[in-house]
């Protein structure tokens, strides 16, 4: 654990608009690029954060903090991520009294930004060296994509089914 890894999550806190997944690509760039975690460790962190209940960015902060600095690390990294939303409420409150913002216009603008961040996250999840040669994982991803869109399935169930599919493909030597 170091001040630098805390700053990564502090910074991410300011950038997480439109749901936690928008920032996963950014977290990867900072943590793997900064040498805090390897690409393999990060992909593992994503899997664990995803199968644990709670917002993904928050879970990722807790898990990475725990890996880097045990229990205190987990608490500090979680707090670092939440500092920005806690601080910004005061700033936003003061600002909205001075400049009356039109909420629907602001939301539309944020949606465009969300599209950019979410697409970047998808690219960085696909780009990781962890996936090289592992066509089984990409296949599971493609099936999960269609099931998620077409069937009204509980995402948690889908996550564990995919884990099961991973085990099956692994033992069949297709992973």
């Amino acid at each position: 654990m170091s001040l630098a890894s805390l700053l990564v999550f502090f910074k991410i806190g300011f950038l997480s608009f439109g749901g936690g997944w928008t920032t996963v690509g950014l977290i990867e760039a900072d943590l793997v690029g900064g040498g805090f975690l390897t690409a393999v460790e990060f992909s593992r962190a994503v899997s664990i954060a995803q199968m644990t209940p709670g917002p993904i960015a928050l879970n990722l902060a807790t898990y990475v903090g725990y890996r880097l600095g045990g229990f205190p690390g987990a608490a500090l990294h979680t707090l670092a991520l939440l500092m920005a939303p806690l601080l910004i409420v005061w700033i936003a409150g003061a600002l909205s009294r001075k400049i009356p913002l039109q909420r629907s216009a602001l939301l539309s603008a944020l949606q465009t930004i969300t599209a950019i961040l979410l697409t970047s996250t998808l690219f960085s999840l696909l780009q990781t060296p962890v996936l090289s040669g592992k066509w089984g994982v990409v296949l599971i991803g493609a099936v999960a994509f269609f099931v998620f869109l077409k069937a009204k399935i509980d995402p948690v169930l889908l996550i564990f089914l995919c884990g099961g599919a991973g085990i099956a493909l692994g033992f069949a030597g297709m992973l």
Partner: protein
Amino acid sequence: MVPIFQVRLEKEKLLSEKAFLQSLGLAQCLPGPIAFNVSRLCGQQIAGGWGSFAATLGVVIPPFFSVILVSLVLNWLQQAVWLEPFLSGVYGAALGLVGGMVYKVYRSQKWPPWKLAIVGGGIAFLFLFPSWVLALILALLVTLYPVEKRGRTPR
């Protein structure tokens, strides 16, 4: 998580639908996990500052301990031969779910060419300069907000 909040809060007669949707709308404009912001704002409406504090703790503490619990269990299972393929499968699920979200985000909006150009440019920019993301977000907010606002104002 968020739809469950709404159902429970209405059922317990703690917050009306209108008040909830107001909090949700504001939560979406703020940075940070949406579930976190929604609970904080709802707690504020129900019981003021302490309500907000209690709601925040309520939404943060369970995931915090479940992550630690899962890490401990996985450490304990480290030798299991099925663990690595299981986690790979879960990673596949992440790919599928994020892909689904990307699809939904694009489906939910209209895409005039200028907006597509901005999104394409933004993705390329982030790919080349990932550390400039804050500048990119601020620049886009400052440019897009007036455009969206003008599109909405009746003339």
